[in-house]
């Protein structure tokens, strides 16, 4: 996979402090609190005091969401960041529906129905949730929801998605960046390459491939 000649890179100097920030931001974003602590200690960087305490809480919220234990995640979120879910209706709905899906998967249909009636239908008053609501309700119609057209709602990918959204919302609430700088940098490289490729066609550099880049 052809890439730019690595010799081009020699001309660009990078500040070591920047690199440390990038690593730290990644660790913080993904709640690797122990690693973050030791990294801080090794490098001698300074961070605000309550920084790590919040990270702990955020970590457990993220984990609960990822497991599908939405109610616990909601409870802790309310504690950590009150009003966050009220301001983020979409997220609130997604979390509640995680619980609904949980009940469906454990074949507790009556409970699922009741939960839907009490917690989810109030959202149905707003038009944009109606379709989503219908999709979830459709799961009730199948004795084997994994085989229904809506099976993607049961997948771990979906849960990951919701958990990520929640994580980002909490970070935003605390006035921290929603995306780790590492992520952004890679995204940026990809987009820039895409633009170049579109404009210059064959004469320009190929689209960015992280794999290819790392192999080099």
């Amino acid at each position: 996979m052809m890439d730019l000649d690595p010799r081009h890179y020699e001309h660009v100097t990078i500040n070591d402090g920047d690199i440390r920030n990038i690593v730290q931001s990644y660790l913080v974003h993904n709640c690797f609190n122990e690693t973050a602590e030791s990294f801080l200690a090794c490098t001698g960087m300074k961070q605000p005091v309550d920084y790590l305490a919040d990270m702990d809480k955020r970590k457990s919220i993220f984990r609960f969401a990822l497991e599908g234990n939405a109610l616990k995640a909601i409870e802790l979120t309310e504690q950590l960041a009150p009003n966050l879910l009220e301001d983020n209706k979409d997220l609130h709905f997604d979390l509640l529906s995680l619980h609904f899906v949980n009940l469906i998967c454990s074949r507790k249909c009556t409970e699922a129905l009741e939960f839907a009636q009490t917690k989810l239908t109030p959202f149905g008053k707003v038009h944009k949730y109606v379709e989503k609501l219908e999709d979830f309700m459709a799961l009730l119609a199948y004795e084997e929801p994994e085989k229904s057209p809506m099976f993607h709602l049961l997948s771990p990918d979906h849960r990951q998605n919701v958990a990520d959204c929640l994580n980002r919302a909490i970070l935003a609430h605390a006035n921290l960046p929603c995306y780790s700088s590492m992520e952004r940098l890679i995204q940026q490289a990809t987009v820039v390459r895409q633009c170049l490729h579109q404009e210059l066609g064959k004469d320009g550099p190929p689209p960015f491939s992280l794999k290819g880049f790392l192999k080099n």
Binding site: L113, L120, L133, D135, M137, A138, A141, E143
Partner: protein, 584 residues
């Protein structure tokens, strides 16, 4: 042959199953089970040849005929008659299985009806699934209606979804569980209170699924009769009457007596030649203009009599044409190479005079919104004015002549005018497109049909040409027979769906042709001078008016004597009436 036809319903006498009828008779709608069992068995098998077919053409199967009559009787509410017919003929509307099925559906015994469903013949797997789906759907909605939501969900999961069809519908049904608005959307909001109604609807839906031999479609007999009437109406060459005259007793056939042929009134009011006349769009008024410079608005009364309403004076020159505003509240009149005047129809007062200094106007037409008008000018331009007289636009397009017709289609899109001696231009001003109608002879006048589909073009050589102007103009028909050598003679469309063409003529007669066929139907004498213009009343197909050099207007209508004769069964004008479908 001896075998049972495939077309015949599952219940033929041969096939009344002994076991079933024993238990089913309890549910049979008939009050005399003994006859039901003994009756059909005792009758001869229908497969014995000739009895099967009735009617002179040998195409009607007796069993089908009786069954649709029975169905019609039941639909009309004649339960006893329906049952009596079934009994007497031995031909059952539905087999006993189907009858049971219907009853179970109407009574809401869903599980039982599903079982019975499988026992009905002639139903393939697809139909069975679709029918089961519909029945279970009804069960689902009724459960929701009774607030038995858990049961409804259980039923959805275990019975409906496993059918494996109509996935989107399943999706919608699950939406209904929590959303009452969804329920309303699907039309089932009041299932609880309107159970009987919705079950009837279900039965109708099921009927549509089943092959017609199993359950006769609703209103089949009515449909067949309507079909026959349509065919008769379409085949009626001189058709010029209202649908209310269609009767089942005789084949419908208008004779020529439906076409105006007699003078019913002569209108005196002008002092000189009458050059133009036109009925208003709603047929309640008639406007005429004369070389004596006057315009008269006549009122058409309910009984068909016409009386003078206003005589409008003001023009100094002969008035060559008038134009009704689409809402019939105002009238334009054009003096020959003079001015155009706008009048209020109710009061008769002149609201505005349109003129161009140094020039004369030679034609006028309204825009469909009634807020703008077009005029032809002697300098070969067409002018567009607003009501107050402000000239909005002007473009070159006409050849100057004594009169140069213009017209606008009802959608306001096309402007039709005579751009050359032998050509008419159809101009789409917005798209800047133009179509041309080109003739080989000089064109004198033209007239637009009601729905802007056709143009009638009058030529110098005594022919009238019919052009279709939808898309590229196409010549469709030619009409001949009338006389025209020196004067401007006008023609028009008229009658039921504008099926006829009428024209004036220099030989003082009014000519009427069949539009599609092209043949001359009538030449009506009466006037004492050339007939310049004709107009057919748009709301009374039996009224025609003609304007003549003899200073009068004649109103033509039906020949009452002939009509009476027709009712008594006489021959009329060469067209023989028969009751059983044989045309002349």
């Amino acid at each position: 042959m001896g075998g049972v036809d495939d077309n015949e319903p599952p219940l033929k006498r041969v096939r009344v199953p002994t076991v079933e009828s024993g238990s089913l008779l309890k549910n049979s709608p008939f009050s005399e089970p003994v006859i039901s069992l003994g009756g059909p068995m005792a009758r001869p098998l229908a497969s014995e040849g000739k009895e099967d077919i009735i009617g002179s053409k040998g195409v009607i199967k007796k069993v089908e005929f009786v069954r649709i009559i029975t169905k019609a009787l039941y639909s009309l509410g004649y339960e006893r008659s329906g049952a009596a017919l079934e009994d007497e003929s031995g031909i059952y509307l539905h087999s006993s299985v189907v009858n049971l099925f219907r009853k179970q559906v109407l009574d809401g015994y869903w599980d039982e009806s599903l079982v019975t469903l499988r026992k009905i013949d002639h139903l393939d797997e697809n139909i069975l699934k679709s029918a089961s789906f519909l029945i279970l759907e009804q069960k689902f909605f009724e459960l929701l209606g009774k607030n038995r939501i858990i049961d409804a969900v259980k039923m959805l999961r275990s019975e409906i979804t496993p059918l494996g069809i109509k996935r989107e519908r399943v999706h919608e049904l699950s939406g209904c569980i929590v959303s009452s608005s969804k329920l309303a959307l699907l039309g089932f909001a009041n299932v609880g209170t309107e159970t009987a109604n919705s079950r009837m609807k279900l039965l109708e839906e099921l009927q549509k699924l089943f092959p017609p031999t199993v359950m006769i479609p609703e209103r089949r007999l009515e449909h067949l009769v309507e079909q026959a009437l349509n065919v008769q109406r379409d085949a009626c060459y001189f058709h010029n009457s209202l649908d209310s005259t269609l009767s089942l007793y005789t084949d419908h056939q208008c004779g020529k007596e439906q076409i105006p042929s007699q003078t019913t009134q002569v209108l005196f009011g002008h002092h000189d030649e009458v050059w133009f006349l036109q009925f208003s769009n709603n047929g309640k008024y008639l406007a005429s203009s004369s070389s004596d410079g006057s315009v008269i608005i006549w009122e058409v009364h309910e009984d068909g009599r016409i009386s003078l309403k206003h005589k409008l004076t003001g023009h100094d020159k002969p008035v060559i044409m008038v134009a009704w505003r689409p809402d019939d509240c105002q009238l334009l009149s054009c003096g020959m190479e003079e001015v155009v005047r706008r009048w209020d129809v109710i009061s008769g007062e002149c609201l505005h005079v349109y003129e161009k200094s140094g020039l004369g106007l030679i034609s006028c037409a309204w825009f469909p919104d009634g807020k703008q008008l077009l005029c032809g000018v002697t300098d070969q331009n067409i002018s567009l004015w607003d009501l107050d007289g402000k000239e909005l636009e002007s473009w070159k397009g006409l050849r100057a002549t004594r009169t140069s017709d213009i017209a606008v289609t009802k959608d306001g899109k096309w402007i039709i005018s005579m751009c050359r001696e032998t050509a008419i231009s159809l101009l789409d001003r917005e798209a800047k497109r133009e179509h041309l109608i080109e003739e080989e002879q000089t064109i004198t006048t033209f007239s637009l049909s009601k729905h802007d589909k056709f143009l009638l073009v009058n030529l110098l050589n005594q022919e009238i040409h019919l052009w279709s102007i939808v898309g590229e103009p196409m010549l469709i028909a030619k009409y001949k027979g009338h006389k025209r050598s020196r004067l401007v003679i006008r023609s028009c469309f008229g009658g039921y769906e504008q099926a006829f063409v009428a024209s004036g003529s220099e030989d003082s007669q009014v000519y009427i042709w069949h539009r599609a066929g092209g043949d001359l139907i009538r030449a009506l004498p009466g006037h004492a001078g050339a007939v310049n213009c004709v107009s057919w009343n748009p709301s009374n197909h039996h009224m025609l008016a003609s304007a003549s050099d003899d200073h009068t207007i004649r109103v033509w209508g039906l020949n009452r004597v002939n009509l009476k004769r027709k009712d008594a069964g006489y021959h009329c004008n060469g067209v023989v009436h028969q009751c059983n479908g044989n045309r002349k």
